[in-house]
Subunit: 399 residues, 4 copies
């Protein structure tokens, strides 16, 4: 029999704050009631503030984030459309796979796992595409499998430099609400998010930000779609209704999680994610033989760290021991990096103590699995950082 709390350090679903959890414990209600919009309409408005869009539109689907990926593609592109994508981890890989299966003509840049979107290559391809055959450019802002963040403003700059009209698609599932994202300022046309990451909710709700331009483009898209169709949603969303039964329970939770993000302030949320992540990175730096999968600081992700374990051990042992012996869930190494990597998710509702728990357990599991790291070494490095780093100073930097 297990005792004590489960220590959840996967990069989503994340830990649910108590007030969000309370808020979801509701009886059912009529999704066609005259006042249903009192619940739902502020959610659209609140999400616009988090996505940082004033002119765009938010869609909420009863689906995982994968559904919003599909919604983005099927509503705005056509079969055979040429698109630019890059692949450097399991989630960027899966989006490529979806795009191909949905009939797009995908030009893929395969990059080293541990790096992110190759902005220069995108720039070159865009500059070369005088005919504007490329209809869209895709970017995974945060590759959850490798703990790598990418430079979205850089991609916008490349588009602008080439005066290229391609739409910009961003997978922000594990970034929006946790690290800086600015839909309007960065000219993002389709931005995908999910409930179970920075929004601190269970899975089951995806959010999609769509620019005015993409909404216009969608009118001429001929892909077959129904469940994810923008038009059905738009007909009803303005009054707060949905074309099918929405997950009301999650709406009640989202109401509170949006309030939390607003109360803390987005820039404080981002600063906190940086500060907590940095503690984890310092701990990893103190572990002999371990290193981040992200190949350099420019790729550091503030929401998840992927740790390459020493060659002589198997990361799956770390995961198994963590789970079975210490009741902790870390993220596994997916696909190419299976056995080489384990991940610590550090996003959503988190504080110093929780990060130290993750590190203390990870150290025991690493040693149990055969790593030669010193117990307490990473914890001490993180403690030192958490003790002395200033949340205020960081806040300024993060803005």
């Amino acid at each position: 029999m297990t005792t004590g709390q489960t220590h959840l350090f996967i990069p989503g679903p994340t830990n649910i704050p108590e007030d969000v959890r309370q808020a979801m414990n509701v009886p059912m209600q009529d999704m066609r009631a005259p006042d249903f919009g009192d619940l739902t309409k502020p959610l659209f408005t609140g999400l616009k503030r988090v996505f940082r869009t004033e002119t765009g539109r938010i869609f909420m689907y009863p689906s995982s984030g994968t559904g919003a990926w599909e919604a983005a593609i099927t509503n705005t592109l056509n079969e055979g459309d040429k698109v630019l994508m890059s692949r450097f981890g399991q989630f960027s890989h899966l989006w490529v796979d979806m795009a191909e299966r949905l009939g797009l003509d995908v030009q893929v840049f395969d990059c080293e796992w541990g790096t992110g979107v190759p902005v220069e290559k995108y720039a070159a391809a865009l500059a070369a595409d005088k005919a504007h055959a490329i209809k869209a450019v895709f970017a995974t802002q945060n590759e959850t499998a490798t703990g790598v963040g990418s430079d979205i403003p850089g991609i916008r700059a490349a588009l602008d430099a080439a005066s290229h009209p391609a739409m910009l698609f961003v997978d922000g599932v594990s970034s929006i609400g946790s690290v800086d994202f600015r839909m309007d300022e960065w000219g993002v046309d389709l931005a995908v998010a999910g409930s179970q990451k920075g929004f601190m909710l269970p899975a089951g709700l995806s959010m999609l930000g769509v620019s005015l331009r993409a909404l216009e483009v969608s009118k001429s898209s001929t892909m077959r779609r129904c469940y994810f169709d923008f038009v059905d949603m738009m007909k009803l969303n303005d009054d707060g209704y949905f074309p099918y039964t929405p997950p009301t329970q999650l709406f009640h939770g989202l109401k509170v999680s949006l309030e939390r993000l607003e109360t803390e302030g987005l820039s404080n949320v981002f600063a906190r994610h940086y500060r907590l992540a940095e503690g984890v990175r310092r701990a990893i730096g103190a572990w002999d033989g371990c290193r981040l999968c992200a190949t350099g600081p420019k790729w550091h992700s503030d929401t998840v760290s992927a740790i390459v374990v020493p060659e002589e051990i198997d990361a799956r042992d770390v995961l198994r021991i963590g789970y079975e012996k210490y009741r902790a869930s870390f993220g596994s190494g997916l696909s190419k990096v299976m056995g080489k990597v384990f991940r610590i998710g550090h996003l959503g509702d988190l504080n110093e103590g929780m990060c130290l728990t993750a590190l203390a357990i990870a150290e025991m599991a690493l040693v149990d699995a055969g790593a030669k790291i010193e117990l307490g070494s990473g914890v001490a490095a993180a403690q030192d950082w958490y003790r002395t780093s200033s949340a205020t100073a960081l806040k300024v930097a993060a803005e």
Copy 2:
């Protein structure tokens, strides 16, 4: 300020039993944990028992029931395929609409709202289709908008009589788990259900039963799909995993709701739905000037009753008064029957007292809206039935 409980009598989402509600109040967990299948695999097995299929396969999607409609079509049919459908209410209408938008060649039988699937017409069309151009026959087992049940075994008989190989699609969203449904025995190939009806859960999870034959057929289906693709699911479901983050919270609830259905016994569940529904129907029969939308006993639905109000009043007033003055949610009249009909949902976790609450409030709202019915008349008719009818006797009949 409102006080006291909200009285929820819409045909879904239905009232959640306390133990199901408790079960969903969980912290998040790792959907890739080695023992995650301990939670999910029994759900597939339990759903097979409820769908009454031994050879078929169950899919669970993070989506509303509409998503499972789409999954059924896009995985097994091809653009241009000829299908038979019938339309006699808002939900059968929407399914037709989806089929057309997804590119099927739909032969629609439009029937009077208040009747159901025209089995004879289907039989004739099938018999005439010697070339077997018809690839699938669609039936809405329970039209939620009009409170009409249809004869699924009759459709199977028609297919068999014509020795026709068309697949049989059934929308069982508001029937499966509440009234008799037998996937294998009736030769149903694709059966759609949703979490928020007979399964007594919040919306957000759809279930799809797929026959072996349909799985075979799906291999040659070429429709573009990704989120709802069978193959991605099948690769992982056997071990209890999913291709994207599933709604774990609902799985915990489903575990308990399946236990409830098993403990009560499906035939008892069906008998209870009949008995409670019959009380509501007797009450409606006692209301001067009101009648069921269902045009005869063969169309009676045991999960929802649509009530045609006297011509001189507007059903929207009944709904509004019920909601604002008496804190009760009834189902509205959708589309064609707007203003003429209001609905009482009587499915899921329900008992006599709850039905009487619905009737007592409906009577007040009807009188407030101008109807000339006698207060207490319907309640008395239902009380008399509930007092004297035997659950045991009915159980036998229902089997």
Copy 3:
């Protein structure tokens, strides 16, 4: 297996509003934390508003209401003290029993069950007590066993008329927060309440209002006490702390239930209780052979109605049938009125639909038990009242 919600119509514990229920679903916390008073201090203030005392003091004990009865006596009286009490139901009886067991010299007026505090007899006894031997006068404002309300201002008038210094003790367990109570204006010295009635919480917290005078008197009380001692509480309560671990969970619920009472407004709360109660009384009036236990309108309780069943039937059958066949809990007939009476609690978080549920089920159970009442008759009487009575008009009357 039971299905559907349990219909709870006992006069406490009452139905918990959803927001109160949510609020209690909390992890544990440190009751010695520096900010613990942020939670608890507003509770004392809020309770003062509900008790309508500005100068008095509130105590909260982890105990049932019985504990607060004991706290009231042991902190302010001495063994052998003469007190006036009256007995006309199980709860007034139990308070007499306690007073006697704690060593008071109790002069009891035994009154017909169905009547309340005999103000004239109290007046006479007080007038005759020139020596002021009587130290305290006890009154049960609402006798929960018989559904009888008493005239507390009348008792105050009797004390004043006799210029008698005796303290006034009031059991307000099933009245405070539901019907009019004014501690300061009525000169109440010790007022007892409990969490599980008008405060819409689980049992486990008692509240005691104590006047300045009673606090002064308590300094010379020599009864042995420790758990319920005022002094231990007072030392810590001003800073929001308690001399032993308090029931924090209930504090979180109380916070919300106080907010509810304030938002609705106490006079509206009282008007609502009157209006809902009156519907129940009209229903009872329509039931052939049944009558209220309260012998006249002056004794009517707005929080609970005790119904005397026809002589030829046993009220215990009504209760048993209601519980087993219809999943409803009514209040039983206690002690002297066992078998003759069943009770409908109508206090706390309630609305019209809930009262009609109680009445509809009671009618079925009465008929099942052999009563000759007409099904629907009481429901119709109550419906008519609920449809046509004006909450606004009543509000004025109640002030």
Copy 4:
């Protein structure tokens, strides 16, 4: 705004397991229902197994543990009765204080804080008391304020050696259900427990184990009592009822916490508490300048460790910093040891990761408060122990 979970490491209320928390989230119910005993009777039986009594009787009071102290005294002793007590911490002090206020003639042994019950002194006093003037001997099995465990079997041996008939009272509030306790085998007559410690529930329910002999003795006790009276309880408890409204919500939680204790097995529960506590002690041993308040291994408590901080710092700073900066609640130094001591509670639903969280945060707070300990030093010592110690081996030892 705070983010992330609160880290609760006070020695009660303890962290509530998820299934216990779920179980308490219930609507209210009738405490006089015919089947109420189905809920409550197994609780008495289950508690008997935890108290390890077959012949004794369990009482459950809606009160804090302090209430059960009072119940124990007022039901079995008389004013002026001579009793032996010892004082070596805030809780043993408070029990002495209560005994004196309730009129007992208390012979108190004042001992150094950091030691426990002085068995030899008790033995001498008992041996000297040939007239058997001493009616009861009191012992605090676990002094929560100093983290000191005492030798209850030793006291029993002293009583037996002197053939002394005095009753044995044990305060097991922070020990029963967490460390070894054997009511029958050790001849304990009155054993006090509380819901918010080893039973992993909110505060609000106290449990009292009473031996047959004490029940017999209680018949001649003449102390004034009512709320805590055994007789009222016994009249109703056998059928599962209570003399006043019990805290049903906590009963539902207790049902699950008892199941947890049985499933884990009491000896495994005790072994786990030892193992987790030992890790904390090893960490403290690694902190330069800190030491346990318990003056030697024989006094070690497996449920709470009181840490004496270096003289140059104030333990209140450690507490304040822990709470404000790191969102952690440690136990404060009470009374005599205020400013010198802070405490880590390690009882109830706990695991290695949680203990390491406590230690990691304590280290940061200590350093922030000026202590010269090395960050990570205690964590490393505990990690090493947790990694390598065997739960199985310990289990045998603990039996």
